[in-house]
């Protein structure tokens, strides 16, 4: 299960909405599996059907996480014409077995989370922590 604050969910949705119809992507860094620090990334492909982190930006963000003892707890991206379910491409490039892969569909306003390990997709529940709770 992914447990995530309402604020972070809203930040993902706002980023996806702003970049629509291109796909938006980014990371939420955290410790011990708790997503905390929102890091929107540039989609180097600027495409409605593909995303790729810019290699130098990814290097800096990964180094910062390393320095802070953080990990990429969430890796998110948007789908802008299809449902929020990992595509074949998403599965073939999934390279962080410890991460929650969050997809947001701007077309369907769907927010879903998955584990993708060794080519196998497993959907998980999302628990959103409302402010003040």
């Amino acid at each position: 299960m992914l447990t995530i604050s309402r604020e972070l969910v809203d930040q993902i949705i706002a980023h996806a909405t702003a970049d629509h119809p291109d796909e938006a992507c980014g990371v939420i860094a955290g410790r011990a599996g708790v997503p905390e620090r929102f890091v929107p990334m540039e989609n180097a492909e600027r495409s409605p059907t593909f995303y790729r982190f810019d290699s130098m930006e990814q290097f800096r963000v990964w180094r910062d996480m390393d320095d802070n003892d953080e990990e990429p707890v969430v890796i998110y991206h948007s789908h802008t014409a299809t449902e929020a379910y990992p595509s074949r491409t998403d599965v073939s490039y999934a390279s962080e077995p410890g991460a929650h892969y969050v997809l947001y569909s701007t077309a369907l306003a769907q927010f879903r989370s998955f584990r993708i390990v060794d080519g196998v997709i497993e959907e998980e529940d999302v628990k959103i922590l409302e402010p003040g709770v």
Partner: protein, 90 residues
């Protein structure tokens, strides 16, 4: 000549879980050859048809080697090489 190579989570199965390993060589290509000798199987995850795989990023210190000389990029003692799978999808 020792060069530290930082290994991403997904490739640590080849390094017995180590986050960083030492390797030697005068170029990125030689370094990967030496890594392969020490950690068999890892080269195929980095290189395809004598080129870096498209969705694998290799950095020499703070630079992506694609913007330097690719596999032919010279390396020297004390350098740090970082491997990161590109985060990508569709």
């Amino acid at each position: 000549m020792a060069i530290e190579v930082r290994i991403p989570t997904i490739l640590r199965t080849y390094t017995d879980g180590a986050k960083a390993v030492d390797a030697s060589g005068a170029t990125i290509e030689e370094l990967i050859g030496d890594l392969e000798a020490r950690h068999p199987g890892i080269k195929a995850r980095l290189v395809e048809n004598d080129k870096l795989r498209r969705f694998v990023n290799v950095y020499l210190n703070d630079e992506d080697v694609r913007f330097l000389g690719g596999l032919g990029t010279p390396v020297s003692d004390g350098d740090t090489v970082t491997v990161l799978p590109a985060v990508a999808g569709g």
